[in-house]
């Protein structure tokens, strides 16, 4: 099963925090500030890794394995992702299902860890997180199903490399709808602005951030790093669908992929600067739109 290249994984591990840095920098520039250095997310991770962790006496072992499983499941999921011209580290028929459920496993443990603390705020965050992800999951699956139907592959790696400009030429409406649905899922799953504000620290409105309030030190570093990896993973899918250049040279394709990631990061920053957060009650409506878009893409 391990037959591909290790390059996509290395690029993801090294580049993911930078994407976060680019988004934060874009927001600062638009707001008229200089902003933090692009490398700040790496420094934050480094700083957190050198701290100790404090565990509440009410928590159990669930609280401690939460961040570990969260990071491990994302690492496994990233091993299934191709990047640029390089195939994924591992690919087998039907691994799209595994991809989605690896992320669900990580989320499940994060939610359990949040509930384990016994904090009412974290319970609220956990409840919101699972509500919204339950709505985001059908949209993700239907989008992948639409792509699988068009390309005839059910393995995420070959599926993403099979998307090309010739597919765009004869199925542009379907790919456009899929892309729109994937962007909404990208914003929702990564707790970006129309759904959740990553910079907020008001517990009543937070979704993702509130679940990890009690984690500290290396645990928090793992959670933060996992969040950047998750964003990288979704961004890879979007870039592979939106900019399917296959020049033949793997390194050129990788450079194009990286440029795509940069553009997507800047676009996310622009969206975050220009939009207000949706009311909590309106978020399911946005996710319903994503489901409808992807269902329409499957029907085409």
């Amino acid at each position: 099963m391990i037959s591909g290249s290790v390059v996509p994984l290395i690029v993801a591990l090294a580049g993911a925090p930078l994407m976060q840095g680019v988004i934060i920098r874009t927001k600062s520039v638009i707001a008229g500030r200089t902003g933090q250095p692009l490398m700040q997310p790496y420094r934050d991770l480094w700083k957190l890794l050198h701290k100790g962790a404090v565990y509440s006496q009410t928590t159990s072992w669930i609280f401690r394995i939460g961040p570990v499983v969260g990071l491990a499941s994302l690492l496994l999921a990233l091993a299934l992702m191709p990047f640029g011209g390089f195939p994924a580290l591992s690919a087998f028929s039907g691994d799209v299902i595994l991809l989605a459920y690896l992320m669900a496993l990580g989320r499940f443990l994060t939610v359990l860890a949040a509930l384990d603390t016994g904090s009412s705020f974290e319970g609220m965050g956990a409840s919101r997180e699972v509500t919204f992800s339950a709505l985001a999951e059908p949209a993700l699956f239907l989008s992948l199903a639409a792509l699988a139907r068009e390309t005839g592959r059910i393995s995420i790696g070959p599926l993403l490399t099979a998307v090309s400009w010739s597919v765009w030429a004869h199925a542009a409406p379907m790919l456009g709808l899929t892309l729109a649905a994937l962007v909404i899922v990208f914003l929702a799953e990564n707790a970006r602005i129309p759904v959740d504000d990553p910079a907020t620290h008001l517990e009543l409105t937070m979704i993702h951030e509130v679940m990890v309030l009690d984690h500290g030190g290396p645990d928090f570093a793992m959670i933060q790093y996992g969040a950047t990896l998750k964003m990288w993973l979704f961004a890879t899918i979007i870039v592979a669908v939106a900019a399917p250049w296959h020049s033949g040279n793997r390194w050129i394709d990788t450079a194009i992929g990286l440029a795509g990631m940069l553009i997507l990061a800047i676009a996310t920053g622009v969206i975050e600067s220009s939009m207000a957060r949706l009311r909590l009650l309106r978020v399911p409506q946005l996710l319903l739109v994503a489901i409808v878009l992807s269902a329409l893409a499957v029907a085409l």
Binding site: P284, L288, V289, I291, V292, A295, L296
Partner: protein, 217 residues
Amino acid sequence: MSQLINSVLVLLVLTGFMLLGSSRLAACIRVVAFQGVLLGLLAILMQHGELTVTGVLLPLSTAVVKGLLLPWLLFRAMREAETVREIEPLIGYNLSIIAGSAALVIALWLGQRLRLPTEPPSSLLVPAALFTGLTAMIVIVSRRKALTQVLGYLALENSIYAFGTAIALRLPVLVELGILLDVFVGVFVMGIAIFHISREFEHIDTDKFAAPTNQPR
């Protein structure tokens, strides 16, 4: 060309969902206006490149009437009735969108079963037209404001127009102009009616139109 037609049809379906999901009347009016423009575009695309003067002018006049003139009338009616948004529809917005998804499934199923005398240029055309009609009916049935119901009626007319492009590639000019005039007069009259209703009852909520004598004073 068929990709362009398909894109227009997908946009048509999406406008249907937008109509179901938005509560602001101004947004709904713009959505229906956009539908009219899309239909004009669709009728031009349907002619397979052999453009004639009437073949372009007719869809163009449809687009102008439905995209500019009718919205202008409706915006005026909205200003006079002093309503900005549809509050508390009988079916909520999320449920409307779910109902819309069900309507899409029905439309796709019907579109496959329906045999037309001529093969439509796109397999999506009949489902998209049927779907627009179904969403229009959902809007007419489930919304309280008279203005939203007028919008539903307009969307219904749009769906019939879309269906018409599927079965009859070229309607007689006189018939098309007649339909356009009918719609225009219809909306004109309904705009005046809404104005009078809002003056008489001080609102345009249709489910509160009980006889004035029954109302507690």
